[in-house]
């Protein structure tokens, strides 16, 4: 397990906006054909997520919307609307065209398949009789 794919997190990309910026908790794991990311984005709708790929830097940015119920006064707040932002540097072997993203129950699931030529191949060993 020496591959450092998507390990490097760059903080320079965080910009000051009207919402406070939060770094979302992320799991990174290997799958059969590449790397997968699970990113916690509670309170985020699909249209508020943006995943961009620039050169080898994959950036996830999203906005959570915590709409206060009308006619109610806030009495306690653990969380507020935030802008989630996090970047990862991918290794060369990721098939950039095949990256897919899915948002489910407030978690963004990203699949980063490796290019076919860099996937492990089984070499058959032949014996001579």
């Amino acid at each position: 397990m020496t591959t450092q794919t998507a390990e490097l997190q760059t903080k320079e990309n965080e910009r000051t906006r009207d919402l406070p910026v939060a770094v979302p908790a992320t799991d990174i794991y290997e799958t059969e054909n590449g790397i997968a990311l699970s990113v916690d984005l509670p309170g985020v709708r699909q249209e508020q997520v943006e995943v961009t790929l620039e050169n080898r830097v994959l950036t996830i940015s999203a906005r959570s919307e915590a709409v206060d119920p009308a006619g109610y006064d806030a009495v306690h707040r653990d969380f507020e609307p935030v802008e989630y932002r996090r970047s990862f540097t991918l290794t060369e072997d990721v098939d950039r065209a095949a990256i897919s993203a899915r948002l489910k129950n407030g978690v963004l699931h990203l699949a980063l398949p490796k290019a076919a030529e860099s996937q492990p191949r089984r070499i058959e060993v032949k014996t001579e009789h």
Binding site: T26, I35, S38, R77, D78
Partner: protein, 145 residues
């Protein structure tokens, strides 16, 4: 992992100070208070008709979340499961905590437990807690001579 029950202390609660003492005692015995004590993060709103609670619980199956009301205490509990198809060795980074959680909140009044509504959407739970009619403040007419 089971997270300890944490109480909120806020201005509406007349027993605020007592809760804080209780919590501080717990902390004293349990060692350092972990951030997990605050899971899930909760927002609360109040009005004449009742309260609304929102909790950030991303990545759970709605079936694995339970909301229960007993008198004036509302509890949110459940389990955030890990993807069992991924062997532990396959993780490069693991920041999303998994396990069982419970958080209980004492409200300043009793709620109509039969008409409590809960909805899970975008990883956020929203619970509507209508105030029990009998506990609503009554306006006392002031008669003047």
């Amino acid at each position: 992992m089971v997270y300890p029950i944490a109480r909120l202390d806020w201005s509406l609660d007349p027993f605020n100070g007592l809760h804080r003492l209780h919590r501080d005692m717990n902390r004293l015995f349990a060692g350092f208070a972990s951030p997990a004590e605050r899971f899930p993060a909760i927002n609360l709103w109040n009005s004449e008709d009742g309260m609304v609670l929102a909790a950030e619980i991303p990545g759970v199956d709605p079936k694995d979340v339970e909301v229960s009301v007993l008198g004036n205490v509302v509890s949110v509990s459940g389990e955030r499961k890990t993807d069992s198809s991924v062997p532990a060795d396959n993780y490069h980074r693991r920041e999303r905590e998994a396990g069982k959680f419970t958080r209980s909140i004492r409200l300043p009044y009793e709620v109509e437990s039969d008409s409590v509504q809960a909805r899970y959407e975008f990883g956020t739970l929203r619970v509507t807690l209508p105030r029990k009619e009998a506990t609503k403040p009554r306006r006392i007419a002031i008669s003047a001579e």
